[in-house]
């Protein structure tokens, strides 16, 4: 299948990390593990020439496509991809903004199920990410680790006896690992407990970021929690530290939801129903408002207050109402005003059609 059709098909699917399945998936959207690696024989990106980048790309591409899983791989040359398609990959969290907006030879290898993404010539020569829906750190570690083993058979990584894997930024040296879990925490936001939780996480040396990783805002009540330190602890220890704290946050969110239901059920039901009402009837709507309202709807589905739609569909809408997805689906490039109109039209079409269709869907361990 050619790349255009691959991307076309991708736009209309929800991908692995938004499947809405897996352990604790009412609150945990996805689990990800990223490994940063560099080839020993080339400068890091800031000092790499165009020719170096080309050779790094060829070496890594060859190593990746010689792996046992090569048949699942789609190789995408970012230099050949237009802006909209690059944005599409950012929205799907398959590539970083840095890779999308970068210059020179750079590429990504993904699989059709969107369970891994191998970025070439990003901040480091190679950044391997494995992802899964729900809380599933062990599974993503196995997959990421396997890719690391396969590629390492073909190349020589920059590695030091004392400092471990050497990376362009000293914040990633050692294991080069970033373990992260994306959580949906609307009740903690609503009950104003979120700041307190973040402060305690920071004391535990964990970072909190928004939906699109580094430097992004937390929209739609989505937060990514990840490790800071990468040196001195083993990968297992880093995973355990995060793995130990996530259930505590999940528990807080569940308790906050219970509190909302107990204290003022009318108010909560009203808020959620209104959110759903606006999404089904609006004539123009921004991306931010959509995220905000979908967040309420998502919680409403889990609390059993909305029956007309299931979690997989809600997750899909989070993705498909983002600018690049919307334009791909509409089949035209749209400015911001037209996008808001198109987004509202798209939501009306999806949500009114969905009525009664997916009522039995969704795990409801929270409600």
């Amino acid at each position: 299948m050619d790349l255009v059709r691959e991307l076309e098909q991708m736009t209309r699917s929800r991908g692995e990390w938004l499947k809405g399945s897996g352990p604790e998936s009412d609150i945990v959207i996805s689990s990800r593990i990223r490994l940063a690696r560099n080839l020993a024989s080339y400068p890091f990106m800031s000092r790499a020439t165009e020719a170096d980048r080309q050779r790094i790309q060829e070496t890594l591409k060859e190593a990746i496509l010689a792996s046992p899983d090569a048949s699942q791989c789609i190789y995408i040359d970012l230099e050949q991809l237009d802006l909209l398609d690059r944005q599409l990959l950012v929205e799907r969290q398959l590539i970083s903004r840095e890779l999308a907006e970068g210059k020179g030879p750079r590429s990504v290898v993904i699989d059709r199920a969107e369970r891994f993404s191998l970025m070439i010539n990003e901040e480091d020569h190679l950044r391997m990410t494995a992802m899964a829906s729900g809380l599933n750190l062990e599974e993503v570690w196995q997959r990421g680790n396997q890719w690391d083993d396969w590629i390492e058979q073909k190349v020589v990584y920059a590695f030091d006896e004392k400092l471990g894997f050497l990376t362009a930024c000293p914040t990633n040296v050692g294991t080069g690992i970033r373990v992260s879990v994306m959580l949906h925490l609307p009740a903690l936001v609503l009950t104003r407990q979120i700041e307190k939780i973040f402060r305690s996480l920071q004391k535990l040396d964990l970072a909190v970021r928004g939906l699109h990783g580094e430097g992004s805002q937390a929209t739609g009540d989505f937060y990514q929690i990840s490790n800071q330190a990468t040196l001195g602890l083993s990968e297992q220890e880093i995973m355990k530290r995060l793995g130990d704290i996530i259930p505590v946050i999940i528990d807080y969110e569940r308790k906050a939801r219970e509190l909302l239901v107990r204290e003022n059920p009318q108010n909560l039901h009203d808020r959620i129903s209104r959110a759903f009402g606006i999404l089904r009837t609006a004539q123009t709507i921004s991306s931010e408002e959509t995220m905000h309202l979908l967040s309420s709807v998502r919680m409403g589905v889990h609390l059993g207050l909305i029956h007309e739609i299931g979690i997989p569909k809600v997750n899909e809408l989070f993705l498909q109402t983002q600018p690049a997805h919307l334009q791909k689906i509409a089949g035209a490039e749209l400015d911001s005003t037209d996008r808001d109109i198109e987004r509202a039209r798209f939501l009306r079409r999806c949500l009114n059609k969905e009525e009664g269709a997916e009522s039995s869907q969704g795990p409801s361990s929270s409600g």
Binding site: V156, K162, C169, N172, T175, A229, L231
Partner: protein, 171 residues
């Protein structure tokens, strides 16, 4: 000496070079942290938090150094990739694996600050670290080869080519 912002003893001596003229600050630990966090709030050119963090941390390297010492340090050039310490401080990114050796003295306190540890205990590649070090030498030889060709030192260029081939084939 007292902290310039409170009554506690000043344990951090910071030389700020961003405003043209060096400004010396003497702060207690709490105020130094506050100052360095604020100083890092300017938008990072690379736009990532990692770069921001590295910038902040890089600024901490200035602790306890005079403006002259820092200026001298800034001019140090890695013989492999050609990055200066100044470049690193400003980009928050290193230029090649050898920088971890060349700037070891400056980087170790920084790494300790970020990670709290200096000894890797996680996964290791199957190839020995020695092979990795040998391969990193290629960065220097390739650069020297370019220079030799430009300066028409063909004999040197030929020797460098042999060296490069030898390392490449040793994999």
């Amino acid at each position: 000496m007292k902290c310039q912002r409170c009554e506690k003893p000043a344990t951090f001596h910071i030389t700020e070079l961003t405003g043209g003229k060096p400004v010396e600050l003497h702060l207690c630990e709490d105020h130094a942290r506050e100052y360095l966090t604020q100083a890092g709030n300017e938008p990072a050119s690379a736009g990532s938090m990692a770069a921001l963090l590295a910038q902040q941390m890089a600024k901490q390297l200035a602790l306890g150094q005079t403006a002259d010492e820092l200026a001298e340090l800034d001019q140090q050039v890695c013989p492999y990739c050609g990055i200066t310490f100044y470049d690193f401080r400003h980009q928050g990114r290193l230029g090649c694996p050898y920088d971890y050796v060349f700037f070891e003295k400056e980087l170790h306190p920084l790494l300790l600050n970020i990670h709290g540890e200096l000894q890797h205990t996680g996964k290791r590649p199957t190839h020995p670290a020695e092979l990795s070090r040998r391969h990193t030498e290629l960065i220097r030889y390739r650069r020297q080869l370019q220079e030799a060709i430009q300066e028409e030192h063909y004999e040197l260029a030929s020797r460098l080519r042999d060296k490069i081939r030898e390392i490449e084939e040793s994999t």
